[in-house]
Amino acid sequence: MTTTTGTRIRGGIGESVKRPDGIPKLTGNFAYASDLTADGMLWGATLRSPFARARLARLDTAPALAIPGVHAVLTQDDVPGRKTFGQITPDQPVLVDGEARFWGEPAAVVAADDPETARLAVAAIDVEWEELEPQVDMEEALANDEVFRYAPVRRGDQEATGPVVVEGFYEIGMQDQAPLGTEAGLAIPDGEGGVDLWVTSQWTHEDHDQIWRSLNLAPGQVRQHPAGIGGAFGAREDMSLHIHVCLLALRTGRPVKMVYNREESFPGHVHRHPARLWYRHIARDDGTLVRVEAKMILDGGAYMDTTPAVVGNAAYFAVGPYRVDSVLVDAYGVRTNNPPAGAMRGFGVVQACFAHESQMDRLAAALGMDPLELRKHNALATGDPMSTTGQIIETPLPTVDVIEQVAALPMPPALDTADPLRLPGGTGLTTTPEYVTRGVGYAVSIKNIAFSEAFDDFSEARVVLAPGGVEVHTAAVEVGQGMVTVLQQIARTALGVEQVAVIPTDTSEIGSAGSTSASRQTQMTGGAVLEAARAVREKALERGGGDDLTSEGVWLAGELVMSMDELCADGPIAHHARFRHPPTEEPDANGQGVLHADFAVAAHRAVVDVDAELGLVRVVQVDTAQDIGLALNPQSVRGQIEGGILQGVGLAVMEELIVERGIIRNASFTDYLLPTFLDAPDVEMVLIEEPSPWGPFGAKGIGEPPTISSTPAVAAAIRDATGLELNRVPIRPQDITGT
């Protein structure tokens, strides 16, 4: 087969190519879902449950409908098709079905001439709630057998033991993705009973498959279009207002737009699972791991969403990138009346990693061993079985390399005592240098890439070569990560043609690209584009009778033998590819099997300055070495890594939804703290390039690892500075001061 190296093509793989959507985003011209408008458009708004659990005693829409400018007020009775939705199990009512099960659950939706009238209409709905006692404790939920999924692992000799035993209990608070763009959608009736929807989504085909069922339409009557997305991080893997806005559009016969404000965005999407984890590590005196036991409870909130998959990830990555032959894991995802939990960057591995890395540090202390030496001594490598599932790791796994490379990076300079901006607490002079202690901590992680556990994971792409250039058609959603750039680069290099445009394609025009999640799009849709582009090149060379293709046309032995116009005289050359990764299996009763398609490891080193008396932390620097396969776009890789690290830092020291009796008490950007420019550490990184056997040109997904081990690294650094146990993240000032 003829291939091109890409070295001569401008804008191919390996270059820091500029984003095609960069200029519109910089000039304010990029259309996000919340910017869309249509002639005759109405505005939607949502009535929500004020309680975590309550019986809907009365809901009278008449007073709202009586307001001039109000066109529809819909309840669960108005859902014409399937009354529930949900990605894995449709267990969530489209609108409250008699009992609200979480705070903020949508109970009715209205459409009105303008947002203000819509809000007034929501307030005018005559509604009576009878509050019920919510179940908000995850251990009680487990005791009551409210379990979405139980994922056990039993591997090796269950009686194995050794001389050194460390136990620990760990807790993870509820983190929010807090994408800057809130949930937004525009639904336009097509005049023939169907509807077109532009909406914030990470996976249009999965949403579409739920929407048409609830609307009682044929699949082809609903078309979901990729829309401009202001960040996602998992928050848009499950649906929000999708069905509601379509219901309103179909009822009124007019375009309807809904945009959540920040307060309703917090309950309006799933969050990271809060978790409690109990661990026991058993080792020999030389540090060799003998056995790891873990019990993990993840709070799934009121509805299932992706909880079963998250629990699977927590269970199968419970040990981390370490080799051990005896493992017991009991992982549970439980149902409560807390805000629903689902996907967030790291997807179950974040919770496990905080616990297993805290344990590795404890074990090192118990052994009197250097924490990095302990990790290297037990490091998982290619050819080893996964300690949990027994799957033989056949892909490159540079665990020792990431540890050694991050440790070799230069340390930051000592605290500049003359500069108040460098002090924990900042320029307010809340502390002085003599109270500040520096700490350093490390952590290492392993994450699966793409979907696991026998999921039929595929992505479709169509590559079309025409005289004007190449079009790449895909339903894969760009959420900010830079996929549109990388797909262009892959197509350029594979084809040898420079003019490439990625065309966002609706659900009726192409099959699924799968979700923009699980660090999978570079490998999956990138793989589909590569396959399609290579096929188009072969067809072009065959048609032109040549040995090379460029933007000018087909070449033979260095001579142009057919121009692009001649080549496409009978029409464009196109190829449609459906790319699948190597198949995975269902776990057996002991959690054993080939469950995962690919793996990536990362190591982080955090340096912090802490005033232990005031509980103030400044994260000075977080460095990393990450296993990325190949950097298709180095600038974009760096951006993903830096951004992912800051979300991990956020979970370590500040980000937490405060939930009391199931009610979020800080549903605003004033009260939910996000890292600012002044909170962001410096980041140095080493990119380790060992090709993935099935990623395009050897690339691996890169989005999630930065968020996983950065959190335990920061926690370890704060422990180093303070000598405290700190078994919970985020680490709050009171956790440090003990007051």
């Binding site: 820091s16 500029k18 984003r19 959507d21 960069g22 200029i23 985003k25 910089l26 000039t27 304010g28 011209n29 990029f30 259309a31 996000y32 919340s34 910017d35 947002p115 993705q177 807090a178 994408p179 800057l180 763009g181 809130t182 997305i229 202001g230 960040g231 996602a232 991080f233 945009v259 404000n261 920040r262 901006l421 959420v479 900010g480 990560q481 830079g482 600038q635 974009s636 760096r638 951006g639 830096e642 951004g643 992912g644 690290i645 800051l646 979300q647 605003s668 950007f669 004033t670 996000l674 600012t676 420019f677 002044l678 962001a680 980041v683």
Partner: protein, 151 residues
């Protein structure tokens, strides 16, 4: 009520409506969606505009209070075929990911560079500490602007 102001160099007379914010007037009333609505509490800076020489969160300004003001939004920074220097720097430096915070950063940074053509790294960090970015970790934005500052 009718108000008059100068918007991106043009005199405008508009109905400010009853209680709406300057941000809603810009986005929904005047068809300028570049200023973004992400928090409506003045915490994230996505709606930053320059009003009478000060960078402000337009979500916190009553539309009626813009009467007589001189306003610059992100739509007023680039010429037809030339990006503002800050926009070009952020494009080259990879300072854009999802882009929702980007207009606010562009307006705030352009305002900074107008008064401080060569800000220090710390001055950049401080000046932009009212703008939240959830994607980049700020690194690429910082490098872009340091380069523009000649650092």
């Amino acid at each position: 009520m009718d108000i008059r102001f100068r918007l991106n160099g043009e005199d405008r007379a508009v109905d400010a409506g009853g209680t709406q914010s300057l941000l809603s007037l810009l986005r929904d009333g005047l068809g300028l969606p570049g200023s973004k609505n992400a928090c409506e509490q003045g915490e994230c800076g996505s709606c930053t505009v320059v009003m009478d020489g000060k960078a402000v969160c337009s979500c916190l300004v009553m539309a009626a209070d813009a009467d007589g003001a001189d306003l610059t939004t992100v739509e007023g920074l680039a010429n037809e075929d030339t990006l503002h220097a800050v926009q070009q720097a952020m494009l080259d430096g990879g300072g854009v990911q999802c882009g929702f915070c980007t207009p606010g950063f562009v307006v705030a940074a352009a305002h900074l560079f107008e008064s401080h053509p060569s800000p220090s790294t710390d001055e950049i960090r401080e000046a932009l500490s009212g703008n939240i970015c959830r994607c980049t970790g700020y690194g690429a934005i910082l490098r872009s602007l340091e380069k523009l500052a000649g650092r």
